[in-house]
Structures are given as C-alpha cells and as structure tokens.
C-alpha cells in the first residue's frame, strides 16, 4: 500500500486572509492566490483560477482541424510552437500521414528555440519576482534575438501559427540557419552572465535553497511535469520517453535532479537552456532537403476514434485528446496543459513558508495563466 498524499485546507473564520491577485505584479497574469497568514507565515494557499477562461475547448468543437491550431497558440503563449505541434502530430498520427524529414528537423529546432525563448523570459521574470529588476532586461535582451529570427521566418514574434497538419505553413527563411548559429554563439557567451548575476548570488541562493521542497512522490501524484517535475526526480521528459519529430535522432540527456527545492528548479532550467543549444547545434547543419509539407486534403476528416498525443512544452507535458466521429469537426478536444497540474501543487509545497517564498515558489513553477484557464 502506498502512502496517501494529502493536503487538506481547513478554513477558519478568523484567518487573516490576503488576496494576491487577480492584479498583482508577481502572479504573471490574472491568477488569484488566497493566502491565509500568521504573521509573515502562510498557513495555506488557495489558488482561484478562471479569470482568463476563454472556452477554447468549446470553440474547438466548431472548428476544423486547421483552425484549431491557431487557438492552441493562446494557451501557453511562450511555447506556442510546441502547442501547435501537439495538435498537428495528433492529426498526422490519426491520419497515418508520413511527414517529410525536413519538417521533423525544422520542428525540432523550432521547439528548442521556443524553449530557449520561454526559459529566458522565465529567468527574467523569476529574477524580478525576487526583486532583482535588472535580470528582466538582460533576459529580454537575449530573447529579442530569437524573436527576430522567428519574425523573419514566421512573420510574427510570439503567436506564430507556423505548424499545420502535415507540415509547416512555409519553408524556413534562407537566413534562418545562419542567424540561428549566430544566436547560439552569442548566447553561449551571455548565459554565464546569468549565473554570475543571479545563480551564484548569495542572496538569491538564500532565498531559494530549501524552499518549496517537492518530493518525487508528490510530483508524480500531483502530475507536476516539465522542469519542475524533473527537479524532483520525476523522469517525465516526453522528448526522451516517447520521442516525436526528430528527437530520436539527436543525442541529448534528460536533466534530472532529486533535490526538489526552488533552487533546483531554477538550476534545472538553466541546464536545459544549455541542453537546448546542444540539440539545435546538432540539427541546424543537417536539415535535409525536401518539401516543407506533406500532401494533405484541404478538408481533413479524422477517422472515427479517440487519439491522444503528448509533447513536451517548455513547462511540462502537453497532451491533446481528440475524439472524432469522422466529421470535419472534432466531437471533443481536451487539452492537458502542464500548468494546470503544476499550479495545483502550490498549496502542498507552499504552505508553511513566508509570503516572499510563495512568490519565489510560484515563480519557480513557471506559471503561465492562460495555459491554466484555457
């Protein structure tokens, strides 16, 4: 019999409650955290979500499969490309379409570039949560280089609906490879600065070490995936466990740690940035020639059945569950978004800490609110 993991919130009428959010600098969006305080100490955290619920799952039921893609951009807007890819892979697998090799390589490179951009933004926001305001600008400065590459190829910087079932919207821009290589060279120089400025800083380490400990059992039971889960030793990297696109062709390691505190989650993301650059470097020179899209019918009708596809976004495991009745519209589309599960663990690992720690912990979980509310 395994141990039962529980966190029960007992509300009293005389609790000293403060509401962090919906408009608050450190909740990165419209998330409301109900904190019960005892002095500076937090007794429990109750997250209230739904402030940016747009009913995307309902909207998907009246959209064709091509039209669903652009809605998935709007979940986790920082890993838009991975979200697109989840739907595309699902549709391709259901139709049993073989995608050209070139598409697979490009998708993988874009995944990793997007992950880098996302982790950079997380780094700056995390520093700012802890009061180091300068990190914000350094992170954005480096992220801008990636966004410029994106803009050249996709035409947009953040919400690029670049994937389509069967391939890509366009071929990559001729400059893409050159500029990506330049960026990797540039960022390899800048990333050590991140360590000097924040990771090695004694104040930062005091603020994050030993705070918000999450054990492996808790991570699995709460379904905490992505870097947050891997920091607790939960080997949940979909790229490694169920390789998709070109991930089976690259040599990379799944970064695992077992300490499970806020600092580990931080360190793990920094390490993932290095690993992402390794993956890109392996692929960028070897993109095979070929078509940028497979031949697809203009109206996609999935065969009757239920399909589930998982990809690894920058925040964890993204799952798309499509039920089709053979029509051009799906019957039901369910998105398993990583942050939904990642936020729920906040009470378990956050209660008992100080207010400032709640900010640090929720920052280290890397929450993106539209991803939670869908």
């Amino acid at each position: 019999m395994k141990e039962v993991i529980q966190d029960i919130i007992i509300r009293n009428s005389d609790d000293y409650i403060i509401n962090m959010g919906p408009q608050h600098p450190s909740t990165h969006g419209v998330l409301r955290l109900e904190l019960s305080l005892q002095g500076e100490k937090v007794k429990y955290v109750v997250p209230h979500i739904g402030y940016i619920h747009r009913g995307i799952e309902k909207m998907c039921e009246r959209d064709t499969y091509q039209q669903i893609i652009h809605l998935t951009d709007r979940f986790d807007y920082l890993s838009a490309h991975m979200n697109n890819e989840a739907v595309c892979l699902n549709v391709e697998n259901a139709l049993e379409v073989e995608v050209p090799e070139r598409v697979k390589y490009i998708r993988t490179i874009l995944d990793e570039l997007n992950r880098l951009a996302s982790h950079q933004l997380w780094w700056c926001a995390f520093g700012m949560d802890l009061g180091a305001l300068t990190t914000f600008f350094y992170g954005l400065r480096d992220r801008e280089v990636i966004l410029d590459i994106f803009e050249e190829s996709f035409g947009s910087r953040l919400l690029h609906s670049f994937n389509t079932p069967g391939g890509l919207m366009h071929d990559i821009h001729p400059n893409f490879q050159k500029r990506t290589k330049e960026f990797i060279k540039y960022f390899r120089k800048k990333l050590p600065e991140y360590d000097q400025l924040l990771s090695n800083n004694v104040i930062f380490q005091m603020r994050t070490k030993g705070i918000g400990y999450m054990s492996k059992e808790v991570a699995i039971s709460y379904g905490v995936t992505g870097p947050s889960g891997r920091a607790s030793g939960f080997s949940c990297d979909v790229r490694k466990n169920h390789p998709y696109s070109a991930y089976d062709k690259v040599d990379f390691k799944e970064i695992l740690d077992t300490t499970g505190d806020t600092f580990t989650r931080y360190k793990l993301r920094i390490a993932e940035m290095w690993e992402s650059m390794n993956i890109i470097e392996q692929l960028i020179d070897n993109i095979p020639e070929g078509d940028y899209t497979a031949k697809m019918k203009p109206i996609i009708k999935l065969p009757v059945g239920e399909y589930y596809q998982r990809v690894e976004t920058s925040r964890g495991e993204m799952g798309v569950f499509i039920i089709s009745d053979g029509n051009k519209f799906p019957v039901r589309v369910k998105f398993r978004t990583p942050n939904f599960a990642n936020l729920f663990v906040l009470n378990k690992i956050g209660s008992g800490n100080k207010i400032a720690d709640i900010v640090a912990i929720s920052g280290s979980l890397d929450l993106v609110i539209p991803d939670i509310d869908r």
Binding site: G223, C236, E306, A341
Partner: protein, 152 residues
C-alpha cells in the same frame, strides 16, 4: 507489462469490464460502481503501478456522459486509457479518485464545472473555471447560449 497481460490482469480484478477498440492505447471501460476499486488496484499493485494520472477529461457522447482517465506508469512505462460512462444526464455521479492521484482533484472540479458530473466524496466540489453562479454546463452538447456562442 504488455497490453495483453494488462487485459488479463484487469479482467481478473473486476467483472463487467469491456475493452473497446483503440488504435493507440489499451482502453478499458469500467462499470461506474467498480471504478474506485479498479483505480486503487491499478495504482497500488506493484506490477501495474499506474502512479501518474496524465489527464482526466469529461466527454459528452450525446447518448451518454463519460469520464476518460489517461494513466501511465512511471516505472513500467505502460499506458492505459480508463473510461467510465453513465447514461444519466440529470444527476450523473462517479466516485472520486483524488486520494489516489492528487492531481485529480482539480480535474474533477473542471469536469463538474463543464459537464455537471458529480464526484462522490470529493473534498471541494465547486466550479473551477466558470463563475460560481453560472447556469448550465458549457461543454455539454445540449448547452445553448445565444449571446456568447456563435454557431457555424
């Protein structure tokens, strides 16, 4: 464990199990009254060890309401789709699995919010995404909202 072994094991444990056809994964259709029992056995037996609930989704098949559990074992890496359904649209209810997989608490709240499926013994069954005073269950197929929904 291979899918066939899993099938054998599961049909040993619980009676009235069906295995619908699924191209990708092994799918199990559980009778509602033995859902909790099967979930506990799947989670606690070392050979199956389904400790990771990936996602829990409500589905409206028009003829019936269903809840779909996507399970994975982090140690054995096998995958299972567990499904439970009811034809009662007025007062559908299932047992909760939130003590087994903690992440189910919010997923179940979301399913209650969107489909009106109640979960027995759930600690905090409130609406999650919609307002508390929202009328109706938006993801059901018979939900109508002339103002906010654009039909195609």
């Amino acid at each position: 464990m291979t899918n066939d072994q899993l099938k054998e094991k599961i049909s040993e444990w619980v009676s009235g199990i069906e295995f619908p056809e699924n191209k990708q994964y092994l799918e199990v259709l559980v009778p509602a009254n033995s859902l909790k029992k099967l979930a506990e056995l799947l989670h606690n037996t070392p050979e199956t060890d389904f400790d990771y609930l990936i996602s829990l989704s409500g589905v409206d098949y028009v003829s019936h309401l269903a809840v779909v559990y996507h399970l994975e074992s982090t140690s054995h890496k096998h995958f299972l789709v567990m499904k439970v359904k009811t034809e009662d649209r007025e007062n559908p209810n299932f047992d909760t699995v939130n003590e087994i997989w903690r992440t189910a608490e919010w997923y179940e709240r979301e399913v209650f919010d969107m489909f009106g499926i109640k979960f027995n013994n759930h600690p905090d069954l409130r609406r999650l995404l919609m307002d508390d005073d929202w009328v109706g269950f938006p993801l059901r197929k018979d939900y109508k909202d002339e103002i906010k929904m654009i039909e195609r």
